[in-house]
């Protein structure tokens, strides 16, 4: 590393590596383009960032920022893969695990789940906190899709996809704070009473096991799924088969 590299107007430093970026790119966009993994959940490169899960938090010039919303700047010094930041990310994941009901052994999404795979990447060995065990009934009213709200992490990807890509506004996040919940935009509140379909982008963006296509859950056996094969740090957004 030379002084010339550090002062290059189109690069920044991420964990002592030089990362090129173009004007308007966020830290995570530039990092991922350079093949560097920053753990994240509510960020999906196909959508406008939401900045809510905070798992992608980095230290940019010494200040904490969500790398999915923070624009890259020349000469910025970014820390990501440090023990302190990873400990904080793991605590965020543990809070997500205990706030919902995440029973991986009986979940169709296991092995293709970004929450689970991110927890593997951050070596989460236990949920640490006390479980909330909330009561969140399923919605099986749609002929092709099941909604299991127990697993929702409020990333809003289905909300963004349905609103911005499908033009349908099938989903929304309701209430605030700890009471925030995913709701379905129908008078009955049931997915079966919306025009949601398998062709919708929203049907295919859930990073966890909330939006589940019926009758194909175990087509690919557990043990052979995307994140069973490769860690999420190697392949953050693989084409997922069978779930």
């Amino acid at each position: 590393m030379t002084q010339d590299n550090i002062s290059n107007p189109t690069t920044f430093m991420l964990d002592n590596k030089i990362i090129p970026f173009s004007e308007g790119q966020t830290i995570i966009q530039a990092a991922m383009a350079a093949g560097e993994y920053i753990p994240h959940l509510c960020y999906n490169p196909e959508f406008k960032p939401h900045g809510s899960c905070k798992v992608c938090t980095v230290k940019a010039n010494g200040r904490q920022a969500a790398s999915c919303t923070q624009l890259a700047q020349a000469d910025m010094v970014v820390e990501s893969n440090t023990q302190q930041i990873n400990d904080e990310r793991r605590a965020l994941l543990q809070m997500l695990f205990v706030e919902g009901n995440h029973f991986c052994p009986s979940c169709e999404k296991s092995g293709n789940c970004e929450l689970q795979a991110t927890a593997y990447a951050l070596e989460m060995m236990s949920p640490h906190f006390d479980h909330f065990s909330p009561n969140r009934p399923l919605d099986a009213s749609h002929p092709e899709y099941l909604l299991d709200f127990n697993r929702c992490i409020l990333c809003s990807l289905c909300v963004r996809a349905s609103r911005d890509v499908d033009g349908k506004n099938v989903f929304a996040l309701s209430e605030r704070g700890i009471k925030t919940q995913l709701i379905v935009n129908a008078k009955s509140g049931k997915l079966g009473d919306t025009d949601f379909s398998d062709q919708d982008k929203a049907a295919h963006v859930c990073p966890v096991g909330v939006i589940i296509k019926k009758r194909v859950g175990f087509t690919i056996p557990i043990g052979e799924r995307a994140f069973d094969v490769n860690p999420i740090s190697v392949s953050p957004h693989p084409v997922k088969k069978g779930a």
Binding site: N101, P105, S110, Y120, M125, S126, H128, S133
Partner: protein, 183 residues
């Protein structure tokens, strides 16, 4: 002169609200059991049928806490084991038994002992020998300090072996991508 034989470490295992799958997986270490018994001797365990846990170096607990007896056993292990390890999904987050947690216990007992077809004279068992069910199923770490966790449903024999051999060698257990699974 020969050095005195190194004393064997003592190890105990128990199943609480679990299915014994983690113990079956432990037996999946197969012939490595012979290596293990060179290093440890078993205290309380389904393998020895010893009923109470004495002072031990390592305790492995499978299953969560669904009744009062589970809590007593867990506390006995914690009081006696230098290192206590939660093994498997049920010990770590309650697992399958914890899926009753969003129903009131009274409703479940009614459903099982009164409402089912053919249970006209059914009654909820109340023999004093039966441990009382807990209101909710809890993972172990919500009641006592747990030193290490081995996730999986069940964790593979290789995973359990890796943690045990790391500990016996004085290393911090490390699983890595191949052995760390919640399913």
């Amino acid at each position: 002169m020969n050095a005195p034989a190194k004393p064997k470490l003592r190890m105990a295992t128990a199943t609480l609200a679990g299915c014994f799958g983690c113990h079956m997986s432990f037996l999946d270490i197969d012939e490595r059991l012979f290596d293990l018994i060179e290093l440890v001797e078993f205290d309380r365990s389904p393998l020895t049928d010893i009923k109470h846990c004495g002072p031990c170096d390592i305790g492995l607990i499978e299953g969560g806490l669904c009744n009062a007896e589970n809590v007593h056993v867990l506390r006995e292990f914690r009081a006696n084991c230098k290192i206590l390890i939660a093994v498997g999904a049920c010990a770590i987050n309650g697992g399958l038994p914890a899926q009753r947690n969003h129903f009131p216990l009274s409703l479940i007992l009614e459903e099982v002992y009164h409402a089912q077809h053919g249970l006209v004279d059914g009654f909820i068992p109340n023999d004093p020998e039966l441990p009382l069910p807990l209101d909710k199923v809890h993972p172990l770490h919500e009641v006592v300090k747990i030193d290490y966790f081995i996730p999986g449903c069940p964790p593979s024999g290789d995973t359990i072996w890796k943690v045990l051999t790391d500990l016996l060698a004085g290393r911090e257990p490390e699983l890595g991508h191949a052995l760390l699974h919640y399913d």
